[in-house]
């Protein structure tokens, strides 16, 4: 989905019919959420394509793309993009529906859950994304756990007294 333009190479390299350009994109998991991208009206060196950026609602952060020449005579990359120039992005769609917790938005961390030590929050809603998305399952059970990267020493606890984390 990305257009990358390159400066003209200093050494001519004639592409033959047998040359193959291979794009290898590694370690792109099924993302939890993406970044919003909009093209700025001016002074936006890496994101000027307002048409492309409306195709997907969610994008990866920018990354650099290298084009390597694997021939024996020329080693190294023959073209590349930069973090500040001609960056690459991957756009993606959610292949399944989304669920919201407390309407939390991970892009800007709005509507995060706040809890004061020694107390419990009020009831926090878990909902499908948008009012026009009713539950499309017989039953859905969610299970929360503290992320191991932010260990809580067992101090945080989660309860769902009335629904037991079930949608049905």
């Amino acid at each position: 989905m990305n257009t990358i333009t390159m400066d003209a190479p200093t050494v001519q390299r004639a592409m033959a019919a047998t040359d193959i350009i291979t794009w290898t994109i590694k370690s792109v998991g099924n993302p939890e959420y993406g970044q919003a991208r909009t093209a700025n009206a001016f002074m936006d060196f890496d994101a000027t394509d307002a048409d492309v950026f409306t195709i997907f609602t969610d994008w990866t952060r920018k990354f650099e793309v290298f084009l390597y020449d694997k021939s024996t005579t020329v080693l190294g990359y023959t073209a590349r993009s930069y973090g500040v120039l001609n960056s690459a992005y991957l756009g993606f769609d959610y292949n399944t529906d989304r669920l919201d917790v407390n309407s939390y938005n991970p892009q800007n961390m709005s509507s995060r859950i706040q809890v004061w030590a020694g107390s419990q929050t009020r009831d926090i809603a878990i909902s499908t994304h948008g009012v026009n998305n009713p539950m499309g399952l017989m039953k859905l059970i969610l299970s929360p756990a503290t992320n191991p990267r932010t260990p809580d020493s067992g101090n945080l606890s989660y309860t769902s007294k009335w629904q037991d984390y079930q949608f049905n």
């Binding site: 529906d97 669920l99 859950i113 020694g118 419990q120 929360p144 989660y158 309860t159």
Partner: protein, 190 residues
């Protein structure tokens, strides 16, 4: 709906919730329908003294001697993470003719309201027409909670006549024949 509780000694900071999911699909569906919710940020704020306050419903009428009050609600917007116990005692000291039941109310997670009753014996001396209950808070999370104390209530003599003493009963609902837009009901009470 769910709730997050942070124990009293939780270090302040940002934590994330990972969500797992278990789908029971509609008949015939072969693929999962939902992403799990994204990792959800939980901001834990260090203990704040008197962060939440218990409220007590006020009795609308005096309690006649020889009766028990309606259950009186004590409630709080956010429950304790572990426990907080309210201890109820008569401000003027123990009185055999006035009973508070129960005298301790323990709030724990997922518990936002509890009730107590005041029983006035018929031998109570009504020249002392006002009494009050003093609250104290104990328990693990006691510092996080506060309550306005004392809680006053009034006591009155028994009504002189039976019609004031006993609950009325409805002898007739007096329902008229309703039409498309209205119906009138005129209950008769004995």
């Amino acid at each position: 709906m769910f709730r997050v509780a942070a124990a009293l000694n939780t270090a302040k900071g940002l934590y994330y919730i990972n969500w797992g999911k278990d789908e029971t699909r509609q008949n015939g569906a072969t693929k999962d329908s939902y992403h799990p919710p994204p990792k959800t940020m939980v901001e834990v704020v260090a203990k704040v003294t008197n962060k939440y306050q218990f409220s007590v419903d006020v009795l609308q009428t005096a309690i006649p001697i020889g009766t028990t009050s309606v259950p009186i609600r004590i409630y709080v917007s956010n429950a304790p993470a572990t426990d907080a116990t309210l201890n109820l005692s008569l401000t003027s000291g123990a009185n055999t003719n006035l009973t508070i039941n129960p005298v301790t109310l323990t709030f724990s997670p997922d518990m936002n309201e509890k009730y107590f009753e005041i029983t006035i014996d018929s031998k109570y001396d009504t020249t002392v027409s006002t009494q009050s209950i003093a609250f104290s808070i104990t328990g693990t999370d006691r510092d996080v909670f506060s309550i306005s104390s004392p809680y006053g209530f009034t006591i009155t003599t028994q009504p002189a006549n039976d019609t004031d003493k006993n609950a009325g009963s409805i002898t007739s609902w007096g329902v008229s024949t309703p039409n498309r837009t209205s119906a009138s009901i005129t209950p008769s009470v004995d």
